[in-house]
Amino acid sequence: MSQATPEKVIAPKRQRMLDMILTLSGLKEESTIPISRVKDELENLKKELAPLTDAILAFPDSYFEKFLEAVKKSNITAEINDRGILKESISSLEQALSIVESVSLKALNKILTDTLSRMTEIEEHKDVSVDIDMTSTMSTISDLISEIESITDEFEKAAETEAESARSELVTLAESLEETKGKVEKDPDSALDDLQKLGSQTRYGPGLRSIAQVKRGKREGRIDDARFNKLVKENLLTEINRGVILFILSKMGSKTVVQIGELMQTPSQIIQDALVTMIQRGEVEMVGLDGDAPVFSRVLTETQNSTLLMKRIVQQVRGMVKSVEGETADTMNEALGRLQAILERLKILGAYNEALLSDSINKLRETVDSVTEALLTAQTSEDADNLKLLISAGLEAFARFRLKITLEKGPTLVSGTNVYGEKLDPEVYKTMMDTYLDNELERGTILILIRELGALTVHDLAERTNIPSDRILRHLLRMKRDELLTIAGESHGYLLYDVPRTLSESEITMQTTSGLALQLSEAKGELQRILSDLKASDIGKLANALEVFSKARDKLTSVRVQGAVIDESTLSDVEDKIRSAVLLTYRTRAKIPSTRPKVTIEDLLDIDVPSVLDEYRSQMGYAPLLGFGTIEWEQSRCLGCKSCEIACPEHAIELKRRIEIPKLFEISDKALSQLPSNRLLFYKTVQNLATQKPSNEIILEKESPGFGTVEVDLWLCVACRICVRRCPGPEGGALELELKWSLPEVVKHITSTS
């Protein structure tokens, strides 16, 4: 193993890591001062702040009073067209009012709510009547639907027969599972072996992996017996249940929890628990309802095109229903109902023979398209607008989808590999893209609706689009994370989501002011609370609260109503006071010691690096490295094949031209016997020929495949463990990675280089 040489230039990646260690272990330390001094300092601060606080606390009230007057006078609320802004402002004000009493804020809120209700009234509007004769078209549609229904019946019959044949296999599975369960208490070790066997029968990857991990943990002594028993009894049994569930879903079609429970003869509660994780893992999805019970299905690698097409048709018809009236509406509603039922059934079926369906479904699509077109040209009502929106959303999503496919990394990941040599399975990629398209369609719809109709809640969106509200929520959260949406307040307990908009001056004014009103109210409450009993630990909060005042004041100087700043005199009057209060607080804070412990280099010996990393990750949201590690190389198991060097993504490991031949004579017979046959023969022959035990290692002149010494450059190693995993040597390979790193070594290094 190589020692780090101090003259090496530190890599940026490593520098980040060292900074992290310094920060977390508190090596950057301030000097301590006695507790008595702290008290004195706090008293001083209190005294100095006293004359300032009243003015500071009073300034918001004064400002908002003036602001209210200005609003009334100028009637800027009339210029606010965006309901989202209104709702958001109202929500901020309501919150502010819940914290502090304020007459002016209350009045302001009243004005805004009035404006909002007036706006909503305007939109309660006229009905436009339409009358198109579509009887003949509707009967065609109805015929086609009947045709599809009968084909779907056939599909279901076929699926039923298939399921029947899987049943016997399941029975054996369930029996051996039952047997294993009996063993878990008495003999967890052999139960684990049984579980592994069961696992390979169901071929459930995650299950097999966790079994392997537990086994390994047990063997290496990382898991004690009690914990091991618990893991086997609970986690691993659940994993195997998951395997069986997946077996059922893929061989016997979609099922409800109760149905699965009956098949496995297991309480539904256990099934339910197992399923939740499977959904998170993306193995299982809900595809429909059977009565009230959700029906689950395996996530298919590919959704049948006909199912997708049917989905589109359903969406289209759903849009159309709203645009027609009377008898047509009834027939169309009936058709919609039947179509929805078919769609559900197709989804539950998952895979089926598409060819049988394609004719009728294509005809159906053409007919529905023509009706849509007729409706679109014939109408101008808002409902027709909605319909247009839905359709354009679909188009937009398709367009974006195509663009993304061509632009994004997907294809290169499929054909090439990333830096760690991982490759994306084309099948997985296809699934990703299919769900992606599905999601994009729905997201497109949601976005367009919000863009056109102003901020909406999950509830509103669900009503308009008929997409289940949990899905809508997921989309909204996702789009918010992508910064496509912002939260624009609240309505009846639902959050309002809105697209980022370019706002008018009045709108900005109202938004900023109400937002600041909320912040100031909070800060005011906080400030009053802290000052009533000033403690050393609150010093940071005090500074923060004062900072809020300072920043809010600065912002308010830029808020204008009809070109004028409101309450300018109070604002400028309070400016100095706030500033000195902030400065005083900071000065005191600087004199009070931090709560961090003082750390010496020796203490670093005990730092558990993995936990430091975890802490860092939870604080910063990322970790600069996969980990720290020390890699040990065992000559007796090394085949000199260089696989580690080839596999290492960081070029940290290398087969050096050196044979540590003395060590070849120290390999135990047991270790020798584990070696591949020719390697064993080589070592044996060398030992047989030797007249003396060599004392010096051999330096090889040139690269010699099959011979050498492995060295790891710990300054480059990111502890990704790929070399360990790739090593083909006997008994788990010649390399071992311990996730522990000599920190004093690191610190010595920093101090010598920086």
């Binding site: 097999l208 085949l639 591949p676 080589f682 020929l689 051999i698 099959g706 995993r725």
Partner: protein
Amino acid sequence: MDDNKSAALICTCGKQLQLKYDFLETQVSKMNLASSVAVHDFVCQEEGLAKIAELLKANDGHLVIAACSSQKIQPRIDQYLKSHDTDSTQIQYVNIREHSAWVHEDIDQASKKSADMIRGTLARSAKAVKRSLEQKSIPAHVTVIGGGIAGIESALNLSNFGYKVSLLEITEELGGHVRSLPVVAPTGKSGKEILNDRLEAIRNNKAITIKTKVRVKFVSGEQGNFSIHYLSDDDEEKTLNTSAIVLATGFKEFKPILMDEYHYGKNPDVITQFELSCMLSEGKLARPSDGAPIKEIVMVQCVGSRSEDYKKDCSKLCCTFAIDNSLELLERIPDATVRIVYMDIRVPFENEMIYKESREKGVDYIRGRVSMTWEHEGKTYVRVYDSLLDKYLEIPVDLLVLSSAILPADGILELSETLGYAVEDDGYVKELYGKLRRNETRRRGVVAVGGITRPQFVFEAITDAQAGTLMIHNELQGGTIQAIARGAVLNVDDCVGCSLCAQQCPRGVPLMIEQTEAEEADEEQKILFKAAIDTLNCHACGVCQSLCPSGATQLNFLSNDQLWSEIAAVLEDAGPENPITLCFYCEECSVSTIDIVGTRRMEYPANTRLIPVPCAGRVSIIDILKAFEHGASTVMIAACEKDRCHIGGNGNEIAQVQVDVARDILNAIGWKGNRVGMFRMFSAEPERFTKAVNEMVTRAKDLGPTPVHDGTAGKWREVSE
């Protein structure tokens, strides 16, 4: 595996060999592994061949033939047995003529050596296995990359052999450089004339698909199953499945922009030779700068060629092209003056004729170099140093024509990354073996033809294309490959997945396959691989076998057990009184050289024992150490010269590594490292072999008994315990 007894058939070569046949017969009949012994006078003649067939039948194919060089006798025997429908794959040969009787004066010693080598060969034969005919079907489809003359010719030839062909061309039109040649030496025809028939044939040929404006990005797969990934003319990435690839991307002309003395790229009247060819083909002869008539022409040879800075060697074609073009110029403008500034005029083959003709027609040859070019009042001038007159000439020119160097086409390095052929230092594609395997590349199923391997005249490119076609047809056999698989066979169960074979195989035959299913269940989250070897693609050098730590991959005609038992048997009588030099020799260059030593009756000591291996790379360090363990005094490997690997790679380098490491280890464990040696030779250098073998025999004598002889081997255990 059980040891099988073999019949031994010893040939007297028409009673001509100086060996004690009685002694041989009694010795061999005493050997455990011999079922019978027969001495025959003419094994290579009809009656001898019949005897062979008879013995094969009686011994289930296990037969050792002690006769002359297997290089000579084996083809004859194989042919005979094939026509008699008898399997010959288990026969083992031992050369008692060139390797023993003819090279040792002392008849007793020669007989002793022969007996030892027969014993060794019997041991090898004991574990020989029958190899049967294997078959696989592949699509009879070949892809030609490059639509120049070589590519077109390849496509036509391949389709004549019944292959479907895809011809990929990067530009819009087929024909390449030849399209623009006004005259093609030595035919006197224009490039268009040469091409027209072929282009028409190719258009009418339904088996040939032409794709123009396509760019090959990369290639995956192996012979019989290549996928070519290319960008089509609308920039869409497409793939094409094919069984073999003809690389015919041709050359590009060097543009001497950076050579200040010529003002190329700055002065429009300075053009390259190929640009003049284009001008002549198009028929418009006028000064590019102002359209004025051309009267004064200076051509400069070796622009970029034979220059340390650009192309180090001669471009071969430029002299001929310059003369062709100057004759063409004189024909079109009879009163023009053409001067050719040259270093040496090199016109190979019958092109010498046109050189003579040009002299007669008044082309002025000036031996020297151009030192500068300048423009004055709309006229271009060059200053030429005439080295014969030792004078500087200043010549006004209408056209300065630069015969610039011929370089390999672009993209060759990029393509080599996935196509796996080797590239020479100068950027041309490296042939598998310069003398014997010219058109093959290191990658099986990829041949390189035409200007991409070296500058070539049109007729050479055509011959090359035809040769390449035969090469491919030889490999693909029309789509049904049938062969007695002779090569490495992998026992997947033994494979540990170390990838040493895949890393070092000269032809890239072993493929590493990730075992994803096993990984899923693995407790250590190991990344698991197994090799996969298609024996029909293998060239049977044994490098993989030498390196394999688990004995998973072994040649089906020379397993580890076969070689080890042969070593043991050959060295049975080796000892301190009978110091033996064991020589592993490769059946490429070394066997020819050693056979020549025999035919020339060149004497060398008889205490040598020879063991054949297909390639020196087959000898592993274990084999060397085993030889010492069994009593050899010195061990040598006779191998091909450096960079002259017949498999196209590193076979003898792997052998060198084994020898070097063995030497280091011997030194470390109390032996003398120079008991092992590596010697290289070309295929006809008998002195090099005798010198080598004498050296090793001398060392055996000088170094005396080995620790094995002394009984000190393994003693370290007692000391430490």
